[in-house]
Amino acid sequence: MAERVRCVSPVGIAKPVGLHPLAPRLDRLDGKNICLSICGEPDITIPLEKRLKNDYPGVNWTLKKTYGINPVRLSEEEIKTTDALIQGVAW
C-alpha cells in the first residue's frame, strides 16, 4: 500500500468578511443629489457628464474628478446629502 502523506496548505489566510446588502435604490431621479465620480477615460466621462445633465435636468448633479486611479472621495458631510453615485471608469 502506498505511503500516505499530509500536505501543508500554502494558501494564504483570508479574514472572514462580513457581507452587507446593497443600499436601497432610488424611487426616482428628479430632485436627487447624484455625484458623478470621474477617474480618467475622458473619452467616456466627458460625453457621459453632458448626456446626464442634458437628459436629467431635474437632478442636482455634483462632480468629483481626477485623472488618476483613486477617486476623489466625498466628505462625510457630502455623503449625508448625496443620494447616489456613478463611479467611472474603474480599471
Partner: protein, 480 residues
C-alpha cells in the same frame, strides 16, 4: 480596481446606491473585489474599449439609470459572513494523489479562456509534505506559526505590521512561506531570502505587462551559492531559479493571484517567472557601494531588492560587444562616431551612447544592470560613485515641457496636467513650453545600478526599482 471598488463598497454600506463603470474583461476582478470588500454584487456596467465615447454613452445611459433605480433583488439584500477554508493541512493521501491535487487547474473564462493552475505557476512542484516543510523550516529561527510581518520601518510600512499579500490582502505564517519554498524547489538555506521576498507582499497589480525580478546583495549570496556572474538572470543556478520561482508561487497561493481574474497583465511578462540574481559585490569599482549599503544597511548585512518591471521594455542590445570594445580600446566604430571621440582611446562614458533611447518613448528612471568591466570604465571615466552616475543621468533627462507633453503616461502622472510640477513648485498649466523638466523621474535616487554578469560587454536597462513608489529593499538577515 485600485480605489474605485473599495469606495463604492463604503458608500453602499453607508446607504448610498452606486453604479460602477468598468470594462467587460474586468468582470471577474470586479466580482471578486466586491466580495473582498464585503458587498458582493455591486452593480456595474461595461464600457467599450473601442466605441467612440458618445456612442458608448448612448448604449450605457439606460443601464446606468436602471442600476440606480431598479429595486434590489433578493440576493442583493443578503448579509452574513464569508469564511474561507483555513485548514493547516490542505490534503492527505498518497504521493500520486497529492501530485494530482497540486496540479489541479480551474477554467478561467474571458479574457483568458484556458485552464489555469490552482496552486502553482503552471509547472510541476515539489509536494509540500509536512516532513519536507519541517525540514525547510530549519532554515530560519522564526517559529512556524509566526505571522509574516514587516521587520523594520520604511517609507511605506511599519515594523510589526502584518504583511498583506497581493491582490487579496491575505496574510501568511512562516510555515506557509516554507510550504511555498518547498513547492518551488528551494533548499532550507534559501528560506531567509524567501521570507524577505514574502515581506514584500508579492505585488502583482497593473493591467499592463508587469513582472518582478529580484536581486540579492550581501554575504548570503555566496553562502548559498547564488550566481552573480554569466547568465545570472538566466537558467542553471538552483538558488537563483528556485528563489525567483517562489515569488510566483507565493503570489498565487498567499495572495490569491489568478491571471484574468485579479491579475490583469494583458500580455504578461517573462519577468512574471520570476527571476532572481545576485549583485557581484567583489566587482564593484572603488567607492561604489553595494545595494545594501546604498540603502543604509551595513556591508555585511544581506538584503533582497524586489524590483518591479513594467511595460517600458528591456533595453540592452544597443551595441555589439565588438563595437563596445572598439570604442574603449581605440575610439573606433559607430559608438565612437556617435560620441564624437573617433580615434581617441577610452575610457569613454558609454552611457552617452544609450541616452537617446532611454526617454525615446516613455519618461521615467531606470535600473541599469551592467557587467563589471563596464562599471569599471565608468569609474575610470570619472564617476567615483554610483550617485555621481545617477545625478548625471537625471540631469541629462531634462527636456522642454513641449516635448515632455508628448509622452502618454504623463497625462496620468500629472493628474491631467491639473497637478504641480515638482522642480518648480508651480502648476503644470502655468509653465511655458520651453520650461525644462526631468524625464528621468522624481530625483536621481530613482536610478539604480546593479553590477553583475559575465565578461561580454552588455548592459540592460529596466524599470526603476522605485517605479511603484515603494521601498524595494528587504533585510534577509532579519529572517535568518
Amino acid at each position: 480596481m485600485w480605489g474605485q471598488l473599495p469606495y463604492a463598497a463604503d458608500l453602499e454600506k453607508a446607504g448610498v446606491p452606486t453604479v460602477v463603470i468598468d470594462f467587460e474583461d474586468q468582470n471577474n476582478m470586479v466580482m471578486e473585489e466586491c466580495l473582498r470588500q464585503g458587498v458582493p454584487g455591486i452593480r456595474h456596467i461595461h464600457a467599450s474599449r473601442t466605441l467612440a465615447g458618445p456612442e458608448d454613452v448612448d448604449r450605457m445611459i439606460g443601464p446606468i439609470v436602471q442600476a440606480l433605480t431598479s429595486p434590489l433583488i433578493d440576493k442583493e439584500k443578503g448579509a452574513g459572513l464569508w469564511e474561507p477554508n483555513a485548514n493547516r493541512i490542505i490534503f492527505e493521501g498518497t504521493m500520486d494523489e497529492a501530485e494530482e491535487f497540486f496540479n489541479q487547474t480551474e477554467w478561467v473564462p474571458h479574457p483568458v479562456n484556458a485552464p489555469i493552475a490552482k496552486f502553482t505557476d503552471g509547472l510541476p512542484v515539489t509536494i509540500p509534505t509536512e516532513a519536507r516543510v519541517a525540514k525547510m523550516l530549519k532554515g530560519t529561527s522564526h517559529r512556524p506559526d509566526e505571522l509574516v510581518t514587516c521587520q523594520e520601518d520604511a517609507d511605506d510600512r511599519a515594523k510589526g505590521e502584518p504583511v498583506l499579500f497581493h491582490p487579496m490582502n491575505w496574510t501568511a505564517t512562516v510555515e506557509k512561506v516554507a510550504a511555498c519554498a518547498v513547492m518551488a524547489g528551494c533548499r532550507p538555506e534559501y528560506l531567509p531570502v524567501v521570507l524577505a521576498i514574502a515581506e514584500s507582499g508579492c505585488y502583482i497589480a497593473s493591467t499592463h505587462t508587469f513582472g518582478q525580478w529580484l536581486c540579492v546583495s550581501g554575504p548570503i549570496a555566496k553562502e548559498i551559492g547564488m550566481n552573480s556572474g554569466c547568465g545570472m538572470l538566466g537558467p542553471g543556478s538552483i538558488a537563483n531559479s528556485s528563489i525567483g520561482r517562489t515569488y510566483e508561487i507565493m503570489a498565487r497561493n498567499l495572495g490569491g493571484a489568478i491571471p484574468g481574474v485579479n491579475r490583469m497583465t494583458s500580455i504578461g511578462s517573462p519577468f512574471e517567472g520570476s527571476r532572481c540574481c545576485a549583485e557581484n559585490a567583489d566587482a564593484l569599482p572603488p567607492g561604489w557601494k553595494g545595494l545594501n549599503e546604498e540603502r543604509g544597511f551595513p556591508k555585511d548585512e544581506s538584503i533582497v531588492l524586489v524590483i518591479p518591471h513594467v511595460n517600458d521594455g528591456i533595453r540592452g542590445v544597443q551595441f555589439s560587444p565588438g563595437g563596445y570594445r572598439a570604442l574603449q580600446k581605440s575610439g573606433h566604430g559607430g559608438m565612437a562616431r556617435r560620441l564624437g571621440v573617433k580615434g581617441k582611446p577610452g575610457p569613454h562614458n558609454w552611457l552617452e551612447y544609450i541616452l537617446p533611447e532611454l526617454w525615446a518613448c516613455r519618461e521615467g528612471s531606470h535600473s541599469i544592470v551592467m557587467v563589471p568591466e563596464m562599471a569599471r570604465h565608468l569609474y575610470e571615466f570619472g564617476f567615483k560613485s554610483k550617485e555621481a552616475v545617477y545625478e548625471w543621468l537625471w540631469k541629462k533627462s531634462f527636456m522642454p515641457l513641449k516635448q515632455y507633453r508628448n509622452f502618454s503616461w504623463v497625462d496620468l502622472s500629472t493628474n491631467g496636467w491639473m497637478g504641480i510640477e515638482h522642480t518648480s513648485g508651480k502648476p503644470w498649466k502655468e509653465l511655458p513650453d520651453d520650461y525644462m523638466v526631468p524625464a528621468g523621474g522624481f530625483d536621481p535616487s530613482f536610478f539604480c545600478i546593479i553590477v553583475g554578469g559575465g565578461d561580454e560587454e552588455v548592459s540592460h536597462q529596466l524599470s526603476s526599482h522605485r517605479h511603484l513608489n515603494k521601498d524595494p529593499f528587504f533585510s534577509i538577515d532579519k529572517w535568518r
